[in-house]
Symmetry: C2
Subunit: 496 residues, 2 copies
C-alpha cells in the first residue's frame, strides 16, 4: 500500500515544448513555453477568477527579493511608505480628463456594500493618483511640506481582456510612488532619479539590460506630461516595458487643488511625479533569461541560490552523504547563501536535477560517497550547464559566493550580447517591415511621424515605438516613415 | 513675505483632552483622546471613502516593524508567503454554511468589470479561507504534500457600520495563515504554535501582556471548530482581541474537497487551521500604552527610537551643537539605533519636545552648547518622563541600547501591573454587574452558561467573555450566572 501511495506521488514535471529562441512561425510555441515554465516551476497558478493568478511560494519569494532590493533604494532616496484605500470614489477618477479616459474601460466597480446599494459606486484602484492626490491636498500647505515623497506597495486591478500570468493580469502587485515638489525642475529630477533606481534594479538585480528613454505621446501614461521607461529585450527578441516613471507637471495638482505657499509667499500649484513597477518583473525575468530547460534565475534575487543534491545507493552511503550535505548547508547558510538540501527519498538524483533546473536555481552541488571521501564536491552551473568536478570542500562558501557573482555577471552579459545581436538599423519603412516580418528584433531608426503614423505601423508590423533612448545623441537623418529631416531616433519593436 | 510664510507653517499640535485612565462617565472623552492621538501623531488619517483610513508614513513604519518581526517568526516556523486573488466568486463563500452566514452581511461586491455586468458577482475578500482552500484542493494529493503551510500579507474588506481608525475599518491590512495537515493532532498543534507566535509578538515586541485562551462558541470564527485568541487590556481597562488562531477541523476540507492519500493508502480529508493579526495591533499599542501626552511606543517597534534635539541661541552655538548632533547620529546609526535629528529651524525646542512626545519616541537626547563643552548629553525617557542630566558622551551608543531595553521592559511591566490591578473576581452576577457599572476591568469568574446567557449579559453589562484562559487550572466552583457547579473559569470584560 505504502509503495502505491509513493508511486502516485511522483510529481510529473511538465515536458516542455521549448522553442524560446524566436521561431516566429510559432509564437504559440513560445507562449506555451512561458506558461509551462511559470506553472511548472510553481511560480504561479491560474486562479478560479477570470484573469487573476495565484502567486505560489516560489514566485512570491522571488517577488519578496525584488521588493526588498527596490524598497531599499526607495528609502535611500528619501521616500516613505504609506498605505491608501483600495476603493476610489468614481467621481475622483473623473477629475483628470485624460486619466479617466485611459482607465475607465479597465475598471472593476463595487456597487454594493454591507447588503446595500452604494450611493456612489467605488472603483477598485487601477492606480492611485486620484486618491493619493486628494490626500496630498489636505497635507500640503507650505513649501516646508515639500517635497512630499510617498510610496505604497499594493494590489491594483485592471480589467484586461487578454491576460497572461505575471505579464498582464486583472489583479497585480506593485509599488506606486507619488511625489509633490515646489518646482518643475525638482519634479523632473525626481522622475529621472526613480527611473535610475529602476534601471539599477533591472540591471544589477534582475541581470536584465534595459534601454532608458522617453515614451512618445501615444504610449504616455494617461495624465502625464512625460513618461520615462525602462525597456528590456526578451529571449524571443520582443520588448517588455519593465517600469515607468512619469513627470505629471501640474495636471493632478490642478485637478485636486494641491497648492502651497512658496518661500516668496505666493500660492502655487505643486509639481508632481508618479512611478511604478509590478509583478510583471517576474515575467521579464522568466522571458529574459529562460531556456529550454526552464527558468534561469539571477543569483541576487533567486529564492534558492544553491541546491545540494545527495547521491547515494546504500543506507550506509546515505548516512555519510546526508550528514556531509547538512554540514555544508550550515556552512553556506552561515556565509549568507540561500541554500536548500534536497533530501527527498522518493526521487532519483536525475529527477532532482531536472526539478531544480526547471526552477532556475543558479548552482547545484552534487555530493556522492567518493566526493565525501575525497573532501570535494561537484558543482553544476544552471546558466551555461558547465560542470566543475573535484572542487575543494575547504573554502567552499567563498568559492560559491564568487561563483554566484560570476553567474550574475554572465547572464547579464549574455542578455546584453543578445540585445546587441538583435538590434538592427532601418532607414526606410519597407526595410523595417521586411526585418520584422521574419523575426522580432529592436529596430533603430530616425523618426518624425505622428501618433496616427505609429498606429498604422502597429497595425501593419505589430511593432510600436518602445522609447526615444536617452543614450541616442541627436544625429541628423531622415524619418524612415515621413521622409522628413530629423535628429530624433527611436526603437521600434514588437512588445509584450 | 518669507516670515509670513514661516508663521503660517507653524504646525498646530492638537490640544489633547486626555481622560484615558477610564473615567467611564466619559467614554466619549477616551474616544476623542484616541482619535486625536492617532491623527495628531500622524499615524493615520480619515480617507474620503466611508470607513476607510489612510495609513500615514509614521503609522506605516510602525506596521513595517511589526510585520518584519512577525514575518520572521512565520518563516522560522516553516511557513511560506504566497498571494491569492482579491476577488472571490460569490458561490465560493456559500460553500461553508457557517462561514457565509458570518461574513455575507459585511461584504463589498463587485458587479461590473471592464464596462460590463459580471456573470457572477465577485466578493472583495473579507478573509481568504474559501479561495485558498479551493487552490489547496488542486495542490494536495498525497501525504507527501502535507503539511501545506501558507501565509499571505494582504488587504481585506469588511463593511463595518461603526468604524474607528485601526481598530475597525472597512479595509485593513493583515496576514492570514492557512494550513493543511494529515492529522487532527498536527493541525491542533499548529493552531497553538501560531497563537504562541502571536503571544510573543504582543509581549516581546509590542510590550503588551496578553491572556491566551479559547473563545466560547458565541465568539468563535465562522467556520471554525475552536478559536484561540490573545486578549490584551487597554489603559482604560477594556479588552482588545489582538489576534486569533483557528482550528478548522475538516470543515473547509469537506466544503472544498481537500483530500489526500494517506501513508496507509486511504483517501482522507485534510485537517486545517487559519490565523491572523492585523493593523488593529497599532490600535492596541496606542490604547495599551498611551498617556495624556500621546503615544508611548515600545522601542523594539518604534520607527524612531531616539530623537536628538539641538538647543542653541546664537549662530555660533548652532554650528557647534548641530555638528555634535550629526556626529552622535552617525555613532548611533552605526550601532543599529533608529535615530532622527530634529534640525528644523522654525520650531522651538519646547515645540519639538511636545512633537516627539506625542509621537511616542522612547528616548530624547537634548544637546546644548554646555553639553558639547562638557562632553555630555541630557536624556529624557518618554515612558516615565525621567530626565538624566550629564550622561557621558563616551560610550553613549551602548548606554542608549541598554536604556531602550530598559524602557521596553518597563512599559511591559507597567502594563502587566495595570492588568493585575484591574482584574477582579466575582462570584455572583450581581457582583459583576456592580463592578462593571463603575469601571472597566477584567472579571474572573466561574462559568457554565449558554450562548444565550452570554447574549443577555452583553446587553445588560456591555461585557463579553474574552476567553477561557489556558493559565486557569480547573478549580471547583459555582457558575456566577446559572449557579451550576463547574471547574471552568472565564474572563468577562467590555471590549473594543
Amino acid at each position: 500500500m505504502a509503495s502505491d501511495a509513493k508511486a502516485q506521488t511522483e510529481v510529473k514535471e511538465p515536458e516542455l515544448d521549448l522553442d524560446i529562441d524566436g521561431d516566429e512561425g510559432s509564437v504559440e510555441g513560445n507562449s506555451r513555453w512561458y506558461t509551462d515554465t511559470v506553472t511548472g516551476a510553481e511560480l504561479a497558478d491560474y486562479a478560479p477568477v477570470k484573469g487573476c493568478m495565484v502567486i505560489r511560494p516560489y514566485g512570491y519569494a522571488l517577488w519578496e527579493n525584488i521588493k526588498e532590493a527596490l524598497d531599499g533604494m526607495i528609502k535611500e532616496t528619501g521616500h516613505s511608505n504609506a498605505y491608501f484605500p483600495l476603493f476610489i470614489p468614481e467621481s475622483f477618477l473623473k477629475k483628470e480628463a485624460e486619466h479617466v479616459e485611459g482607465f475607465a474601460p479597465e475598471c472593476a466597480v463595487v456597487t454594493h456594500g454591507g447588503g446595500k446599494k452604494l450611493e456612489e459606486p467605488l472603483i477598485v484602484r487601477p492606480t492611485s493618483e486620484t486618491i493619493i492626490n486628494y490626500m496630498f491636498a489636505k497635507w500640503v500647505h507650505s513649501w516646508r511640506d515639500l517635497p512630499l515623497l510617498i510610496n505604497q506597495w499594493a494590489n491594483v486591478v485592471r480589467w484586461e481582456m487578454r491576460t497572461r500570468l505575471f505579464l498582464r493580469t486583472a489583479e497585480f502587485l506593485w509599488q506606486e510612488g507619488h511625489t509633490a515638489h515646489a518646482t518643475e525642475e525638482e519634479a523632473e529630477a525626481e522622475a529621472k532619479t526613480m527611473l535610475e533606481c529602476y534601471r539599477k534594479l533591472a540591471e544589477d538585480w534582475l541581470a536584465l539590460p534595459v534601454l532608458t528613454g522617453e515614451k512618445t505621446e501615444r504610449e504616455r501614461f494617461a495624465g502625464a506630461v512625460r513618461t520615462y521607461c525602462i525597456e528590456a529585450m526578451m529571449r524571443d527578441g520582443k520588448a517588455l516595458q519593465a517600469g515607468t516613471s512619469h513627470f505629471l507637471g501640474q495636471n493632478f495638482a490642478k485637478a485636486f487643488d494641491i497648492k502651497f505657499q512658496s518661500q516668496a509667499g505666493q500660492l502655487e500649484y505643486a509639481w508632481q511625479t508618479s512611478w511604478g513597477v509590478s509583478t510583471r518583473l517576474i515575467g521579464a525575468v522568466v522571458l529574459g533569461h529562460g531556456d529550454e530547460k526552464g527558468l534561469i534565475l539571477p543569483p541576487r534575487i533567486a529564492p534558492i541560490q544553491t541546491v545540494v543534491v545527495p547521491i547515494y545507493k546504500t543506507d550506509a552511503e546515505k548516512e555519510t552523504v546526508l550528514s556531509s550535505c547538512r554540514e555544508l548547508e550550515t556552512a553556506l547558510k552561515a556565509a549568507g547563501i540561500r541554500v536548500h538540501v534536497d533530501d527527498r527519498d522518493n526521487h532519483t538524483p536525475g529527477f532532482k536535477f531536472n526539478h531544480w533546473e526547471l526552477r532556475g536555481v543558479p548552482l547545484r552541488i552534487n555530493i556522492g560517497p567518493r566526493d565525501v571521501a575525497g573532501n570535494v564536491v561537484e558543482i553544476a552551473r544552471r546558466d551555461n550547464q558547465e560542470k566543475m568536478r573535484g572542487v575543494a570542500r575547504e573554502g567552499l562558501p567563498a568559492t560559491i559566493k564568487d561563483l554566484l557573482e560570476t553567474v550574475q555577471k554572465a547572464i547579464f552579459e549574455r542578455a546584453l550580447k543578445f540585445r546587441r545581436d538583435n538590434t538592427v538599423k532601418a532607414t526606410t519603412y519597407e526595410e523595417m517591415k521586411t526585418i520584422l516580418k521574419d523575426k522580432s528584433v529592436f529596430v533603430e531608426t530616425h523618426w518624425d511621424g505622428t501618433s496616427e503614423d505609429e498606429g498604422k505601423i502597429k497595425e501593419e508590423c505589430k511593432a510600436t515605438i518602445r522609447c526615444l533612448p536617452f543614450a541616442f545623441e541627436p544625429v541628423e537623418g531622415t524619418c524612415m516613415y515621413t521622409g522628413r529631416k530629423t535628429t530624433r531616433r527611436v526603437i521600434f519593436a514588437k512588445a509584450y
